[in-house]
Amino acid sequence: MDHKKRRASTIRRLHRSLGVAAAIFILFMVISGMVINHSNGLGLDQHHVSQPFLLGWYGLDAPEQIHSFAARDNWISYAGSQLFLDDSHITSVSNGVGAVFSNNMLIAASSDELLLLDTSGQLIERQSWGPPEAGPIESIGLLPDGTVVVKSTGQLWMADAELLGWQPAKETISKPTWSTSEPAPLPLIQTITQQYRGEGLSVERVLLDFHSGHIFGPMGVFIYDLLAVAVGFLSISGLVLWIRGRRNGKRSNGVK
C-alpha cells in the first residue's frame, strides 16, 4: 500500500513539475499555431523581416555586388537576383546587363529577358529574349534616334517602335550608346542593401521556424521533441492520477 502511495506521489510531483515547465511551451505553440493558421489573412507572408540580427541568423548577407545603370532620371540596379528601380524593389531577375529609357519606358535587360517598366516602376511587360537563333543578351543600348538595340553573341538586334519584335540590325546602322554600370549614390546603395536582405525572409517563415524549432537548428528540433514527449507524459500522468483519485474516492466512500 505504501509503495503504491509513494508511486502516486512521485507521478503527482512529476506531473506538477513538468506541467509548470511545459505550460509556457504549450501556450507558445497554441498562440503561434493560431497565428500561422491565419498568416495569409494577417498578411504575414507579405511582410518581411528587417531586424539585422534575424537576417544575420538566417545567413541573409548583403549582395556581393550591386550593378547600377542610369536611365533617364532613374537608377536601375541589379542586386544579386533582385531588380530595383531607384530604392523600390521591382522583381526577381537574373544576370542583369543594363538598362535604357526609350519610348516612355524603362527597359531593364538581363541575359535572357527584357523587363519593360513605366517610370513609376509598374511592370509593363516581361519579355523572354526570343529570337531562336540568338544567344544570351550581352548588353543593351540606344541608337541616336532612340531605337533600342541589344547585343547578343556579337550580333546586334533592333527593337521595333513598340518594343514588340526584334530584327537583326544591318551593318550600316549608327554606333549605339551602350548602357554601362555606374557608381550609384551611397545612400541609395545602402537602402537597396537593406531591402535586399529583408525581401528574402517573410514574417511567416520566421514564425513557422519558431513553431517547429528549426530556427534553433537541429538542437532546437530535438528540444521541441523532448517538450512534445513531456506534453504526452502530462496527458498520461494526468489520466493515471485522475483514475487513481476516482478509485480512492470510491474506496473511502465505501469505508464510510
Binding site: 507572408d45 541568423w57 538566417y58 545567413g59 519593360l116 513605366d118 509598374q122 511592370l123 509593363i124 511587360e125 516581361r126 523572354s128 526570343g130 531562336p132 513598340e162 514588340l164 519584335g165 517563415r205 513557422l208 521556424d209 528549426h214 530556427i215 534553433f216 537548428g217 537541429p218 538542437m219
Partner: protein, 177 residues
C-alpha cells in the same frame, strides 16, 4: 564565428528555406505552346493593354492587379492563345490557355515554380478546364475539382482561366479578327 556555429547557421537555412533550392519546372516552352495551339504555324502576336475599365475588370476577377500592363496574345480565326502568370502561394505559375469561340480549348501549366501543389500541372487536372466558358457574371460555368494540398494553385489556375476567357471576349479575336 566558429566553424561549428557556421555549420549550424547553414543547416538552419537549408532546413528552413527548402524552397530556395527548388528550381522552376518548365513543362512546355512558349514556342512549343504556340506551335501546339496553332498546329505549327502561330500568327504574329497582338497586344492588349490592361488600362481603364479592362484593368478594373481584371482586378475584380483576380482580386488584385495583374502583374503587367501589356499582354501579348495570338489570334487566328476565332482561336486565341494567352500566356498568363499568377502567384499561387509565393511564386508565379505560368499558364498557357487556348480559347476557341469563347470556350477553353486547352489549359496547360507551362512553368511551375512553387515547391508544393505541382499536381495542378498534370493533364488529368488541367483537362477539367476544357470546354469551360464564362457565365453572364464572369465566372466559370463549370466547377473545378480541387486537389488537397494544392488549393492555392488550383485557385490561381481558375482565376487565370477566367481572365483569359474575359480577355478573349474583350479582344477582337472573338470575331475572328
Amino acid at each position: 564565428m566558429s566553424e561549428a556555429l557556421k555549420k549550424i547557421y547553414l543547416l538552419v537555412v537549408v532546413i528552413s528555406m527548402p524552397s530556395l533550392a527548388l528550381a522552376a519546372t518548365v513543362y512546355e516552352t512558349h514556342t512549343e505552346f504556340l506551335n501546339r495551339a496553332f498546329s505549327g504555324t502561330p500568327p504574329e502576336p497582338d497586344v492588349i493593354w490592361l488600362s481603364g475599365e479592362r484593368k478594373s475588370s481584371v482586378r475584380e476577377l483576380l482580386g488584385h492587379d495583374y502583374a503587367a500592363l501589356r499582354l501579348r496574345y495570338w489570334c487566328q480565326s476565332e482561336r486565341s492563345a494567352w500566356v498568363l502568370d499568377e502567384v499561387g502561394k509565393d511564386l508565379p505559375i505560368t499558364v498557357g490557355v487556348v480559347i476557341e469561340k469563347n470556350y477553353i480549348k486547352s489549359l496547360r501549366v507551362l512553368t511551375y515554380r512553387e515547391n508544393r501543389g505541382g499536381e495542378v500541372s498534370t493533364p488529368a487536372f488541367t483537362d477539367q478546364f476544357n470546354g469551360i466558358a464564362l457565365t453572364s457574371d464572369d465566372s466559370l460555368d463549370q466547377s473545378i475539382d480541387g486537389i488537397t494540398g494544392a488549393t492555392l494553385s488550383v485557385q490561381a489556375l481558375s482565376r487565370l482561366a477566367t481572365v483569359a476567357l474575359y480577355l478573349h471576349a474583350d479582344s477582337g479575336c472573338k470575331n475572328g479578327s
